[in-house]
């Protein structure tokens, strides 16, 4: 069982040096010392600041920036991590444009918000480089909590529980910790090793990991409930959805069609040699309109794929993906086909022939195909591969039968104050309960749920999900 001492060694063995993700450079460049100091001095130090309100983990942003400005960079990192133990990955992965930086008062005053995300990255990186240790395990309570999944929700929850004195064991289905933080964040935002380095620091408080343990396969929820004082479910969402498209059942076509989450995970963990086949791709069609679809498009452009096409079944205004991400994608040359949906995929000359049907959004919000008379000739495109970014499945099948666990709208139902499910010993947070949000939301939910678990196992809480 890898412990904090061996985690680093283990991780370096498992990560080949020539990983494909090393070809990506940071979209948002890190700040050097001078840049950070100048930027920190720009902050006007709002009181009851909008940026802090907008942060799901309520980081005291004016405080940490003031500390950078005054030369106390370690203190700045402490302020960040006290609220958000995964402050480094959030600094990389947060859509700051729509969170803290989106409401920065300087954006109103002079159109240029403070680079909060980059300052946060600067502070935490500096502190981690110095090896500063911020947190210590609380006085042992003798209680033991099992956490399923090692993504941001579980890490945040486990760290907070350990601070409160509870032992924690995290069960991870793969051989790498971090969940989507390690394997799902676009590599131009954050590489896997940043996530792993952060986990090393986070785990130094005394987190225990067990790898290649998956619920429903070699891990039983009933056994966890029996053995531990509480169980936290933080395993996020399931495998990529596969929409119904004519032709998709052919093995030849399946080999050229990938789920986007699976694809990004490969980008981040496979070697350049493993992924050599990508170099021969001329055209890739990404199906979907969310942020993962946009991430994939931008990754493909960054890797030099000449033609990247985003096919989204609704209009641009209806896209769930962020406007700023769409803007960057278009600037990078991604072609957007709105109101289109693949209706048929066939093979033609060693490539895929994808037929896109024209769609419209009906008055009731449903997507409908336009009648042939109204539609132009269906668009037919040749593509080397198709990526499906049409959502992920849930773990409803393996969880829903368990007493007290209930799903609504693809989300596991919990009490939003405590994270407790209908089962008194089972708690949950992150994508599993919110349907798929940002890393920072998962961190916030993980921490809040740790308090809920603490109260429950210390006997202060008895009510389940409402």
């Amino acid at each position: 069982m890898p412990t904090k001492e061996t985690l680093a060694d283990l991780l370096s063995q498992k990560r080949p040096e020539d990983r494909l993700e090393n070809k990506f450079s940071d979209f948002k460049k890190p700040l050097n010392h001078t840049e950070a100091e100048i930027e920190a001095h720009r902050c006007i130090n709002c009181y009851d600041a909008p940026c802090t309100h907008a942060c799901p983990t309520s980081i005291d942003i004016p405080k940490f920036i003031r500390r950078i400005a005054s030369g106390d960079v370690t203190g700045a990192a402490g302020t960040i991590l006290e609220s958000n133990i995964l402050g480094l990955s959030c600094a990389h992965a947060c859509p700051t444009e729509v969170l803290c930086e989106g409401v920065c008062v300087l954006k109103t005053l002079s159109k240029t918000p403070i680079m909060i995300g980059r300052l946060q990255r600067y502070a935490v990186e500096q502190a981690y480089e110095k090896g500063t240790r911020f947190f210590h395990a609380g006085k042992p309570t003798g209680k033991h909590v099992a956490l399923v999944g090692s993504g941001p929700a579980s890490l945040s929850c486990a760290h907070e529980l350990k601070r409160l004195g509870h032992d924690v064991t995290i069960f991870e289905k793969s051989s790498l910790p971090g969940g989507l933080n390690t394997q799902g964040i676009a590599p131009y935002k954050m590489k896997a090793d940043v996530s792993l380095r952060e986990i090393e620091h986070t785990a130094s408080i005394g987190l225990t990991f067990e790898y290649e343990k998956e619920l429903g396969k070699n891990l039983s929820l009933q056994e966890l409930v029996d053995k531990y004082d509480a169980v936290f479910l933080g395993m996020g969402l399931g495998a990529d959805n596969s929409p119904k498209i004519a032709g998709l059942d052919s093995p030849q076509i399946q080999a050229r069609t990938h789920g986007v989450v699976d694809f990004i995970s490969k980008l981040k963990t496979k070697t350049q040699k493993d992924m050599e086949w990508l170099q021969n791709c001329h055209t890739v069609i990404v199906v979907g309109g969310g942020n993962t679809a946009l991430d994939a498009c931008r990754e493909l452009k960054a890797l030099g794929v000449p033609r990247v096409i985003l096919s989204y079944r609704r209009s641009m205004d209806e896209m769930p993906g962020y406007t700023h991400e769409l803007l960057h994608a278009r600037q990078e040359g991604v072609e957007c086909f709105f109101n289109t949906l693949p209706v048929r995929i066939a093979m033609a000359d060693q490539a895929l022939k994808v037929t896109l049907g024209k769609t419209a959004t009906a008055a009731n919000g449903q997507v409908t195909f336009l009648p042939v008379s109204q539609a132009e000739e269906p668009e037919t495109l040749h593509a080397d591969i198709v990526l499906l970014a049409t959502g992920q499945s849930t773990h409803e099948k393996i969880l829903a039968g368990f007493p007290g666990l209930k799903f609504e709208k693809n989300r596991l139902v919990v009490n939003h104050e405590t994270g407790q499910t209908g089962h008194l010993k089972i708690f949950a947070g992150g994508d599993l309960t919110n349907g798929g949000m940002e890393v920072v939301n998962a961190v916030a939910e993980g921490k809040k749920t740790a308090i809920g678990i603490h109260k429950a196992i210390e006997g202060e809480l008895s009510n389940g999900a409402k």
């Binding site: 720009r42 709002c46 009181y47 009851d48 907008a54 109103t108 005053l109």
Partner: protein, 422 residues
């Protein structure tokens, strides 16, 4: 323009300091547009130390305050005199002032004759330097002793045929006392302030004041934008007392045309600049003259005489301020950016009359403009001063309903004392 008998094409002079160390520099300054230059102080040869300067920054801005432990000119007097001749030959219409600092009467006589022969238009007596030279009984050591100041100024007036300006030190309690000593001994003008005795910073790693010379530091002379308010008070105090009878050359943190106008409104006939030039170079003179001209055009002034001293009648004692004048803050919701800085300032450092708005703007995270309890507002200005959003907070006058109607504190005191005596 004419300042105490010295002709100058404009009111902007370079103060006696490193920017006027050599003839080559002064010529470039005149070429750039400076109206006058007070040469780096000449006296007995000295040796300087390294390093010499220290600075205090404010946020991103360098040199909010500046200090030096440099002494007077370390060049041979003959070299300075020879270069003065050359400068005056090339720039006959510019004001060239010699700054002097020596000890004995004989030395003063000799040096005054030398600089007059070199063609200088005036002499500035350096009674201000607060470091190094004062330890040798010169500089601020003279400026702090009105009797000595009066005596030496008397010598200078005895020997000089050109106007004599006395440069005053701010390191005293009441600036009008040395100013009076200078005037009574016949000085043609005063210039102020010289630098303020200071320790600009302490190196927290080496535990020594800066600038540090081989592990030790000493107190230096403080100047730059941070000292302007102190200098303006002193200029204003002398102007109130002596009016136009004692011309003043204003010095202390002048960096922009507006700074210069403020000094002149308080009675300065010329201004002298050093730190801003040491920071940005002679080129700033363009902005100073252009800005002042634009201001004059806007106000309809045809010469600087139209506004020199214009604020002096409005500079009064606290006791003469109108107690019936009542202002309160006026918050303008449409310009508020929601930083709430005024709320924390008012609550912790003001009079607890601003509070957070419980309502948020459309973004859900930014509060609407703070709420003012008008009846609690004392009109102190704090919120307006710290507000970063132009136009979000102004001050408005309200009727003053209490019993001090139409009176000042002084009126009240006199009335009370009158009642007591009855």
């Amino acid at each position: 323009m004419n300042f105490a008998g010295i002709y100058s094409p404009n009111p902007f002079w370079l103060a006696s300091a490193p920017p006027t160390n050599t003839g080559e520099q002064v010529e470039r300054a005149f070429e750039a547009g400076w109206g006058g230059a007070v040469w780096k102080t000449i006296g007995r040869p000295i040796q300087n130390v390294t390093s010499r300067f220290g600075a205090i920054d404010f946020a991103n801005k360098k040199l909010m305050g500046f200090n030096n432990i440099e002494l007077i000119s370390d060049r041979p007097t003959e070299t300075n005199l020879r270069e003065m001749v050359e400068v005056k030959k090339r720039y006959p219409k510019h004001a060239l002032i010699a700054s002097l600092m020596v000890e004995t009467k004989e030395e003063w006589r000799e040096l005054i004759k030398q600089v007059e022969d070199a063609g200088c238009d005036g002499i500035e007596l350096n009674f201000g330097c607060p470091h190094g030279m004062c330890e040798r009984g010169m500089g601020s050591a003279v400026g702090q002793e009105p009797n000595i100041l009066e005596m030496i100024t008397g010598w200078a007036k005895e020997y000089a045929r050109i106007p004599v300006i006395v440069k005053l030190t701010p390191n005293i309690t009441d600036i009008t006392i040395p100013a009076e000593a200078a005037r009574s001994s016949g000085a043609d003008a005063v210039s102020l302030i010289n630098t303020i005795k200071s320790i600009i910073s302490v190196d927290v790693n080496s535990f020594a004041p800066t600038p540090t010379v081989n592990g030790k530091g000493t107190n230096g002379g403080y100047c730059g934008p941070a000292v302007k308010p102190i200098a303006m008070h002193m200029v204003g105090a002398i102007a109130r007392k002596h009016g136009k009878n004692l011309p003043i050359s204003g010095i202390g943190g002048v960096s922009t045309w507006k700074d210069a106008v403020e000094f002149m409104l308080l009675g300065a006939g010329t201004v002298q600049v050093c730190t801003a030039v040491m920071h940005y170079g002679y080129r700033i003179i363009d902005d100073l003259t252009h800005g002042m001209k634009a201001y004059m055009n806007e106000k309809g002034f045809t010469s600087v005489g139209d506004f020199i001293g214009k604020a002096v009648p409005n500079y009064t004692d606290w006791g003469s301020l109108d107690l019936t004048y009542a202002l309160i803050a006026d918050i303008h919701d449409e310009s508020c950016i929601g930083c709430n800085l005024c709320v924390v300032a008012c609550n912790d450092g003001g009079h607890q009359c601003l509070s957070l708005n419980p309502e948020y703007k459309a973004d859900g995270h930014t509060r609407k403009a703070p709420i003012l309890k008008e009846e609690e507002c004392v009109g102190c200005n704090l919120c307006k001063l710290i507000c970063p959003a132009p136009g979000a907070i102004s001050m408005k006058q309200i009727p003053y309903e209490k019993h001090y109607h139409g009176r000042t504190y002084r009126h009240g005191v006199m009335e009370m004392s009158h009642e007591l005596h009855q």
